[in-house]
Symmetry: C2
């Protein structure tokens, strides 16, 4: 089994070809302001400009474009805090499959509305009380649909990895790659292709302190579950790393860096005010880690995946009411 | 005199070569959300990603890179509500010239701080009481410096025009070009090169209703002055079009479109929430015009110059407190 990895660089290259009709090749941005602040040259892979506002379309379309005609007829089911939902809805619409999305009832309106507008049916649940997997199973039994998991599937991981593939094609000489870690789908895919393209590259995961399941899992050497975290980084509120993603993360990630809620807010503001781009809190954790000295010394050129930009207007209100720090 | 226009396409092409070391080639962005909302395909030339956060570096560096060694030794003087100041400061630093900037004392901190950080000396004045040209003249007499005017100079207009040159090189088949009009430097340069590259293109200026000096001047057929306007679009608070720019605007612009303060706010929010980019109010007026049906019918593909992104944190606070409309 050690000889047949579930995720290979070849699968990620295939995904890049497959998803071309649906996923945008996003720009890589640089900014003197950020570099000065972070003390390292950062190359921001702007998945906030991705279709659907986040990297999630990459994995979702890789899986949905691989469905058989019979599976397409049955439709797809997904459970998602938001961005994955939009990715699934876009790809499902493209292939003509019905999509049912199971979503926490407190998911940001900025993520719920566009999903609904894409024609997906939304089933909501209580994030603190209900088990979304039980609900998803019930929906699947009802509809006969195919589950498109948010991260723990080789095709999903391979799709997400295409973000790093594009980044390293454009900027080959990176010392490090910084990726946020929710369930670990993007971190698995991106770290796998990065290590294949540039064996010496150092890869770091980033999590909010309040949602440190992967950090805890790294410390213990096995998957650890935490209670539902209350971080503003709503894309990183997973309770534990995936069964399939965790071994890949363990192999590829040098470490997991933690950032505070205030550091995340400051990074969102910095990106808005200096780089002129809108990143959602989950998308800004990598920049927060670099800005607040979480990277080990010796790194000069780091790629950072800005995972998404679907920011809630209500969050912006609080951001400008509550955040003062930028120094 | 009619036979020797003060601004030619060739001057703009020369400027593009000259300013290469200092000005970025900014990306052109598209967005399905914007197109659906506006009912026209928009191509956003993102000068908010420009060095210094606005297009102004183009004109300032075109003029400053043309100074004689003696003029460089004497230093430069500029009066500016903000973005021009940063452009002058960056270019002056690059050639080693001392820069003195005359700035209204209520200029946004987001524009004042970076100018100071670039080593420029700032002299402030009261926008409602003092005459900035008198103050600039005094500073010039004191320092012997060379004035770098914000818009009314052929080299400035030629530099600003390079934004449209790049846009049309990237997207040649535009029906229309939409530019904001303050003093008219960018509108002059951009309309001149656009008409040269694509004779049939329709060019529209956009102003805030509250700062409608160019609109009034068009109506009257001659330059009209207005009292200091209180628009949130601080880059468009000029009192009248320029002496040199006005004849060019009259020749090239089909009309001047007006947008309300609320429409500008809504456009800034739309760009943030849907396109994930930060535009300052002055930079969003073109999108506001397209979003709120100000364009004549029959236009299908329009280029819009997003002139800058230097938004004040205080403005964002009020934006999210006061703006509700997006429909």
């Amino acid at each position: 089994m050690e000889n047949e990895p579930i995720l290979t660089a070849a699968m990620i290259r295939e995904a890049a070809e497959r998803i071309r009709p649906l996923a945008r090749r996003t720009p890589v941005m640089t900014s003197n302001s950020v570099d000065e602040r972070a003390g390292v040259s950062l190359f921001l892979k702007c998945e906030n400009f991705q279709r659907g506002g986040a990297f999630k379309i990459r994995g979702a379309s890789n899986m949905i474009l691989s469905l058989t005609p019979d599976e397409v007829r049955r439709g797809v089911v997904a459970f998602s805090s938001g961005n994955h939902a939009q990715g699934v809805a876009i790809a499902a619409k493209y292939v003509g499959a019905a999509a049912t999305i199971v979503m926490p009832e407190d998911a940001p309106k900025s993520k719920m509305d566009p999903t609904r507008a894409l024609g997906a049916r939304i089933v909501t649940y209580d994030r603190l009380r209900d088990d979304r997997e039980v609900i998803a199973a019930r929906v699947m039994a009802e509809t006969g649909g195919v589950l498109v998991p948010p991260y723990d599937h080789p095709l999903i991981m391979a799709g997400q990895g295409t973000a790093a593939l594009e980044l390293l094609e454009e900027v080959p000489d990176l010392d490090a790659l910084i990726v946020c870690v929710g369930g670990g789908g993007m971190a698995s895919g991106c770290s796998t292709i990065a290590k294949a393209m540039r064996p010496g590259i150092r890869v770091f995961g980033v999590e909010p302190e309040l949602g440190n399941d992967v950090w805890l899992s790294f410390r213990k050497g096995e998957r650890v579950s935490i209670p539902p975290p209350e971080t503003i980084a709503d894309g990183l509120r997973t309770l534990s790393p995936g069964k399939l993603t965790f071994p890949i993360l363990k192999k590829n990630l040098e470490s997991v860096l933690l950032v505070s809620e205030n550091q995340i807010r400051a990074a969102v503001r910095f990106l808005m005010e200096r780089v002129k781009i809108v990143a959602e809190p989950s998308g800004a954790v990598g920049v927060a880690a670099a800005m607040f000295g979480k990277l080990p010394t010796g790194i000069r050129r780091a790629g950072v995946i800005i995972s998404g930009g679907n920011i809630d207007p209500d969050f912006l209100k609080t951001l400008y009411r509550e955040t003062t720090l930028l120094n």
